[in-house]
Every structure is written in C-alpha cells, then in structure tokens.
C-alpha cells in the first residue's frame, strides 16, 4: 500500500464516513420534526444541531424540556449522555494531540460518534499513518457527517412545520430513543447497564425534578462498569 498523503487520507475519511448517512439522515430529520412539534421554530431547531452536534443528547434535552424539568436537570442529564465524548477525546489524543492548539480546538468540535469510530478504526488498521494524514483523515470523516447532520435537521424542521397539528407524534420520541439504544447493547455489560437504569428509573420516578433519571443513570453506569470489571477478571483467570 502506498503511504497515505494527507490529501488521500482526507478523501479516504470522507469515503469511510459516508455510510453513516443511512443512520444520520433519518435521525436528524426526526429531530427536526420533533423539535418543531415541541414548539421550536426553524432557526432554533437548526441552532440546536449546529451548537450541540450530538443527536442523543439533543433528543434527551428536548424531551426533558417538554416534560418541564428544571433547566439544571435538563443540562445535567443531557451532558451525562454526552460524557462519552470525553472518552473519545482521550482516545484521540495520542493520535491528534500534536497539532497546534487552534487545530485541536476545531477537531474538538467535530468529535462525534461517527468521526471517532471511523478514525480510531483507521488509525489502528494503519499505524504508519503520519500525523498530518491522521488529522486529514479525521476531518474527512467529520465532513462526511457533520454538514449532513445540519442539513437534515433543517429538512426535518421544515417538514415538521408542514405537519398538521392534529397528527399526534408524541409516540415517535420513545421509539427514536429505543432505536438509538438497541445498537448500543453490544455486550452483556451494556445490557446490564441499560436494564438497571430502566428499573431504577421506574422505581425512582417519584423523585422530584426528574432526579430519578440522575439516580438511574448513575446506577446503570456503575452496574455496567462493574460487570465489565468482573468479566475482565474472569477472563484474566482462565
């Protein structure tokens, strides 16, 4: 294989990021539709996607605001959903951390599920990649998904404005969440985390200010981490 030049790496990133279109477009459209149904105008909806650029957290914030949860709880819960971004940032640092600060500042904005997943896979498959090629690849993968996320949100917002008010769409939100969750259940630990969180959320629903979600989320997170630790220990022994 010829050594990848930054230019070639960029286009490879674009190519590898493109298949995510299938997931991204419907989600962003759905977000646009649901946000306008919740009373946001087109500008607010698009701003949401441009400023936050994280699907699951956007859905979570929107749902909690519709439930009239206190602003602090909305922020805390949606940020908790996004905590994995810190893990992505940590994982990318050995590969991209040598760039000047202004480039790292731009990279940080574009750290999303898809750009992270494709980049890490490519860096692992080709350890000989130069620093510049790695950065170019990352931007390629990011540009394959981010503008599509914005554009599809806008499309969804415009569709949402055209949907008559009598059509009840409130069942779409839970269905969208479940469809996001399902592919996340990759290991037993993920399943346990999800299951514990669900049960805890139902048991703690009596707590005021949607605090039940915080308790449930932390319980699920700890359960998942503990199962992973136990599984790793068992594998270590055998």
């Amino acid at each position: 294989m010829p050594p990848s030049t930054p230019n070639r790496a960029f286009w490879r990133g674009v190519r590898d990021g493109t298949p995510f279109m299938v997931v991204l477009v419907p989600f962003a459209v759905l977000f646009g539709v649901i946000a306008t149904e919740a009373g946001l105008n087109v500008f607010e909806t698009l701003s949401f996607s441009v400023v936050v650029i994280a699907g699951a957290a956007q859905f979570a914030a929107l749902q909690l605001m519709t439930d009239e949860a206190p602003t602090l709880i909305v922020l805390a819960s949606a940020l908790a959903v996004n905590l994995r971004m810190a893990m992505y940032s940590a994982t990318l640092t050995p590969h991209l951390g040598q760039e000047p600060w202004w480039k790292r500042a731009i990279i940080a904005y574009f750290i999303v599920d898809q750009s992270f997943a494709t980049s890490v896979a490519a860096y692992e498959a080709e350890p000989a990649m130069s620093q510049r090629a790695k950065t170019a690849y990352f931007f390629g993968a990011a540009l394959a998904v981010a503008p599509l996320w914005w554009a599809s949100t806008l499309t969804g917002a415009l569709i949402g404005k055209a949907i008559p008010d009598w059509l009840q769409l409130d069942f779409i939100m839970p269905i969208a969440f479940l469809a996001i969750i399902a592919p996340m259940l990759r290991t037993g630990a993920h399943v346990v985390a999800a299951f514990v969180a669900m049960i805890a959320a139902l048991l703690m629903a009596f707590l005021p200010y949607n605090l039940g979600l915080m308790v449930a989320g932390i319980a699920g997170m700890m359960a998942g981490a503990e199962v992973e630790r136990q599984m790793a220990k068992r594998e270590g022994k055998t």
Binding site: A60, V74, L75, S77, Y88, S89, L92, L178, I181, L213
Partner: protein
C-alpha cells in the same frame, strides 16, 4: 410550550458543556493516560442514561394520562427487538411506528 429563555439556556449551555467535554483531553490534558476505572464508567454513560429516560415515557405515557398502555408497550418492544436483531435504526423505527399504528387501529 418550551420557554424561550430556558430553550436558549439549554442550547448554549449544552453546546458549551459538550464542547468542553470534547476538548478536555485533546485540548488540555494531553498525553496523561486516564485511570482505567474512569474510562470504564464513561463507556456506560449513554447506554445507562438513555434507557433511564425512555423507560417512564413508555410505561407511563403522558398521552394516556400515565396509564400503562398495550399499544405503547408493544411498539416499544418491537422497536427494541428489531433494533437488536437487525442493528438497523430505520427498520427499528419503522417497526415501532407500524406496531403503534396497528395498536391504535385495532385496540
């Protein structure tokens, strides 16, 4: 109706917060490795908080005044099942919507 001040507080706060989460390591921490226990917990945040959010929505839907409803429960089960089985988000959503529509039409 969502209050405009709250909405913009959330958009800007969530945007800034998410950006800082993305920036922490690549921007400030640099090469120092993270403790294993922390990485382990971070891995499960999304898969815990999202189900925690969705469970009450499905079991006590606001649309039925909070009474558990077979249409909602079956639509949720079909979505989750299809999602796990096919790993296809679109198929999962379509399955859920069709189940919901059938439930509304039949029950």
């Amino acid at each position: 109706m969502i209050d405009k001040v709250e909405l913009w507080t959330v958009i800007i706060g969530l945007g800034l917060g998410s950006y800082l989460l993305r920036l922490t390591f690549i921007g400030f921490v640099g090469h120092r490795p993270l403790p294993q226990w922390l990485l382990r917990h971070l891995r499960y945040t999304a898969v815990a908080f999202l189900p925690g959010l969705v469970a009450p929505l499905v079991v006590w839907p606001a649309a039925t005044g909070g009474t558990p409803d077979p249409t909602w429960l079956s639509a949720a089960a079909v979505t989750l099942g299809l999602g796990i089985w096919t790993r296809n988000v679109l198929a999962a959503i379509l399955g859920g919507v069709v189940t919901f529509a059938l439930g509304v039409a039949l029950l």
